[in-house]
Amino acid sequence: MSIEKQTIENLATLARLAIDDTRVEEMSQRLGSVLELVDQLKAADTSGLSGLDHPLNETQRLREDTVNKPNMREAFQAIAPDTEGDLYLVPKVID
């Protein structure tokens, strides 16, 4: 089983990965064999079963609404690739 080139390209767009033509073929083969593996799921009888999102049957703990995060901009921006004027910079955003 292999996946169509177009599908790989769509997935790569959604996942924002540059996948050039030389890699598409290999990706398609490998993803195809993984999908063959996961297709075994289809045979399982799961009628009436709810999905298990979390291994333990716990519920969300809630936090009190109290500020306790100091300003650490300097430390955070020291490891950022491109900042200026206290902002993170990216190529022009076009809506």
């Binding site: 799921l41 291994p55 490891i79 950022a80």
Partner: protein, 485 residues
Amino acid sequence: MHNFTIIELINGLKKKVFSSTEITQHFLTRIKNLDSKFNSVITLTENQALAAAQSADQLLAKGEAPELCGVPILHKDIFCTNGVRTSCGSKMLDNFVPPYDATVIENFKNSGSVMLGKTNMDEFAMGSSNETSFYGAVKNPWATDSVPGGSSGGSAAAIAARLAPGATATDTGGSIRQPAALCGITGLKPTYGRVSRWGMIAFASSLDQGGPMARTAEDCALLLNCMASYDDKDSTCINRPVPNYSANLNDSIKGLRIGIPKEYFSEGLNPGTEQAVRNSLAEYEKLGAELVEISLPNTGLSVPAYYVIAPAEASANLSRFDGVRYGHRCEDPKDLEDLYRRTRAEGFGDEVQRRILIGTYCLSAGYYDAYYGKAQQVRQLIRQDFVQAFEKVDLIMGPTCPSPAFIFGAKGNDPVAMYLEDIYTISTNLAGLPGMSLPCGMVDSKPVGLQIIGNYFDEARMLNAAHQFQQVTDWHQQAPAGIES
């Protein structure tokens, strides 16, 4: 000195047989001299280690030493360490120095332990052979042409090579137990929620769990005492008292009911591995345990379910690596799309990209129900299998992995063959149960691991059973050849 267990090191430190500075220096020297053969450490933190050792020695002198005071250990490079590069085995984070500590790291700092450095791992913990690391594969100290297992291969190999007496690790589908088995050491994946995930870089959030690795179960118990905690920074961390895991190690296991799942002894299991595991089970019978054949009928579905759920969660977890706030960023992006696509294509290795694409596929419109929804249902089936089994038995035992360490590249071209390496370990992650691996024999001069699976929060019983086994066997004491120099 490097053959001492953690317990022995603690006793030596307390009795002033040696200082923390001496043992820290000793392990640092070993890493510097020997690790070029194994590639198990990505970052050595020599100065910090010596400074920490010095403080530990002062505390020891004052008699105020906390439990692990002065004990040198390694941390998997998936745990964020304040001021120390945390790469997660990826080019993406090759330059990432977090300004915060993981809770696990904080716990170890509070216990007075000394961090020697950060261990190598499969990139973003995605792999079972350590071949996907940006820093190159880790080599198995028992046979350097073979894989150490993954993803915590660096931690496992370092302990096997006596470069550290213990290490932290993480397990999403077997990443503690499988490398522990292949490197002949002891490792434990706790119940999901027992150890905080704060600051532990996420692969698959509902499966990831940190745990200890050491040579003995007794040492693992000590490390788990420190590692396990309730943490209100992690919503999935369970608020439940942490027992003293060392307290019951010496209890008798007479009458212990051990479930042997028939599905764990089916085709694909190496005959030598099977023999070693069966011999160990016989050992348990001698110790007074009762073996009960059980069935975990949906074991075969665990690998397909895992390879939907884990990549799906990962595909979202890894979206934050976009070259904007930290980590790798491509040169001269021509626009925003180019920034994202090239940064991510350059920063992530092939296996990581593959899993992101699979996860994206399984969640995408039209496929969600068939893949993700179905996999979560299968996960429920797998959990039910275990719940039923634990009505009849106290622990479940079987092989950790189908065969001993394989040669590098042996499964390189076939992701599915690699994925099947985790067939016996994955289902405990899906169910959230604790599992451990301990050395139980040798095949072709390579170690074999015995897996113990416990009920939820039953780590103490698992450690007790493992310790009792290690009192009557010496597999855990064997060392690879050539590590003494």
